[in-house]
């Protein structure tokens, strides 16, 4: 690895960003909305993978930080009339702080306990959003977010999202492939040995959690403005499950896998919702398939097929 992206990957990334930048030329509202939503979820899923794919823990409560980013940005913009350049960073910082607080407790334990605790803490965030009606709007949600004028229509907002998400993903990539990211992989592969060679494993797992929470906060802050509202459901554990499934569907052992998973799952959900109200069943079945036959996700599947083709053509 190292800090330079392989040329092939870099070209594909630039092509995707370039294609997205040209998307508004098609003048399809549907496509612009879809692309905006997928970008937000891609960032959300990639952020979760810092915990799963790189540090080897599973968070069942990642939606909490998405929700915190969303609520804080929405409340500061609307209730307090802050400008975006203050409210957005404040939302991200608060998500990071919340993640650091939870990480302090969760990293005392590993594995199953870690998963249970992340879920429990996210439901605490949900409960607070639900009960603190005067600030969050309770179960009616926080509606009527005051979106700044310069991004107050579809296409400008799309470009705003494209810039922020691309920048965030580039930053995440750099973090994951730095010495820090390498140390995280060591922690994932063998916690005890990583400890022996001098890695502060608890600190590393905590930092991974904070990085993940920070970028989930970015995604949430964008989404609150896109939706012009934040709802308690965004912190509910089923939302955490959704992003978890995205991450695993794409493939947790590849950096970009979760983004692919996010796109596939989101489009599937869009279609499924046209035919059935039982999306959770579909999601549950997808999860079963991942667990029983596709543990490395779509990227893993593609690699396997690729390897087989190479072998066949070589023979």
């Amino acid at each position: 690895m190292g800090l330079h992206m392989p040329r092939g990957t870099l070209i594909v990334c630039l092509l995707i960003v370039g294609a997205l930048a040209l998307l508004p030329l098609l003048e399809s509202r549907y496509l612009i909305d879809l692309a905006t939503e997928i970008m937000v979820y891609a960032l959300f899923a990639l952020s979760l993978n810092v915990i799963i794919g790189f540090s080897g823990n599973v968070s069942f409560g990642h939606a909490a930080y998405f929700a915190i980013g969303g609520y804080v940005n929405a409340i500061l913009l609307t209730t307090y009339g802050w400008p975006l350049w203050l409210s957005f960073p404040a939302a991200v910082v608060l998500s990071a702080l919340a993640a650091a607080f939870v990480a302090y407790f969760c990293t005392r334990l590993t594995d199953i306990y870690f998963a249970m605790l992340t879920l429990a803490f996210s439901m605490l965030v949900w409960a607070i959003a639900f009960k603190w009606r005067s600030v969050t709007g309770g179960d009616d949600g926080f509606v009527g977010v005051a979106v700044p004028a310069f991004i107050d229509s579809r296409v400008p907002f799309f470009y705003f999202t494209l810039v922020i998400v691309t920048g965030s993903i580039a930053l995440l990539w750099t973090i994951c492939h730095s010495a820090f990211g390498q140390a995280l992989v060591a922690v994932r592969e063998n916690l005890t040995r990583a400890g022996f060679i001098g890695v502060n494993t608890r600190m590393m797992r905590g930092l991974a959690f904070v990085v993940a929470g920070t970028f989930a906060g970015v995604a949430g802050a964008i989404f609150a403005m896109y939706n012009r509202g934040v709802y308690t459901e965004s912190a509910f554990w089923t939302e955490s499950a959704q992003v978890l499934i995205m991450t695993l569907l794409g493939g947790m052992y590849s950096f970009f896998g979760p983004a692919i998973g996010a796109a596939v799952l989101y489009i599937l959900e869009r279609f499924a919702n046209e035919y059935t109200e039982y999306w959770p069943t579909v999601a549950g079945l997808i999860l079963l398939v991942i667990v029983l036959v596709l543990p490395e996700g779509l990227v893993g599947l593609a690699r396997r097929i690729g390897a087989r083709l190479v072998r066949r053509s070589g023979a």
């Binding site: 005392r108 605490l124 499950a241």
Partner: protein
């Protein structure tokens, strides 16, 4: 708040409320903890099992009018049957895989059962009436107290005693405890370990069903009750210590008291108190009050 200081009867009622809530939660949390103790799997679907217990109670006791006891038995039997299907059909493929996959599998079951409940019972809040014999209040001398809640406060310790005797005082219980220590050795000695796994999973799941059935008259069955209860169970077993029967008993009692008195002192924020307690326990004893440190290895 003032009532707490000036009115002993009020305090007594709150104490009884705490115990009856704690005991209802104990029944459910004990199942979760028991399963973890032997199978080393946290069943995220335990809350869904509880929800099904409550719904089965509604169908059997309320709609079919077959009576309260039949409802409890049906809930236990129904969940036992679901447990057999889940264990044989899904769980057994994953015992040697990593924990992540097991957790995800149980999560998939949560999603599927949530929708299944909506298909069968709809999304309305359903009400289950109290059984005739337990309706009304009992005279405790100083005050009257709802008979049904009193029954819960009694039934919890009985179930605790039953489980304790089963695990600590029977041959089968000894085998179960041995299975938690060294499954391969037990298997080599000719013991049918898979059978122990099924039976434990069935008992644990049936407890969730019974807990749900008993809670049904108090907490009207409704979609989403699975999420609330599983978080409560997590808080209890983490406070008490995963895999420990005493842990779930004491943890559930503590939770009952914190929740009830919390709601008296600062109404509406009782959930937060339980979490403050959880954090305190994590700082001092990360493995819970009665838990043992995690074993090494992956």
């Amino acid at each position: 708040m003032d009532m707490l200081l000036s009115n002993p009867t009020f305090v007594l009622i709150q104490v009884l409320n705490s115990i009856s809530l704690g005991m209802n939660l104990f029944i459910i949390a004990a199942g979760l903890s028991l399963i973890f103790g032997v199978l080393r799997v946290i069943n995220f679907a335990h809350g869904a099992f509880y929800m099904f217990g409550a719904y089965i109670m509604f169908t059997v006791a309320q709609e079919a009018e077959l009576g309260f006891v039949t409802g409890v038995v049906a809930a236990a039997a129904g969940l036992a049957a679901i447990a057999v299907v889940v264990e044989r059909g899904l769980f057994r493929w994953l015992y040697d895989k990593e924990h992540l996959m097991q957790l995800l599998l149980t999560f998939a079951i949560v999603l599927l059962m949530g929708d299944l409940a909506k298909i069968i019972w709809g999304t309305d809040q359903l009400s289950v009436s109290y059984p005739d014999a337990l309706r009304g209040a009992t005279d405790l001398g100083v005050t009257f107290y709802p008979t049904y809640r009193l029954m819960l406060a009694v039934i919890g310790p009985l179930i605790f005693l039953g489980l304790w005797l089963l695990i600590e005082r029977t041959r089968w219980g000894r085998l179960t405890r041995a299975a938690t220590q060294d499954m391969e050795m037990l298997s080599a000695l000719g013991i049918n370990v898979p059978m122990i796994y099924i039976v434990i999973f069935v008992i644990g799941s049936a407890l969730a069903g019974v807990g749900g059935a008993l809670a049904a008259p108090i907490n009207s069955p409704t979609p989403g009750m699975d999420a609330t209860i599983i978080v409560e169970c997590f808080v209890i077993v983490i406070i008490g210590g995963l895999g420990s029967l005493w842990g779930s008993f004491v943890g559930a009692l503590i939770y009952g008291f914190v929740f009830n008195f919390g709601s008296v002192i600062v109404p509406n924020w009782q959930d937060v108190f339980a979490f403050l307690l959880l954090m305190a326990v994590l700082l001092v004893r990360p493995w819970g009050l009665y838990g043992k440190p995690e074993r090494e290895g992956h």
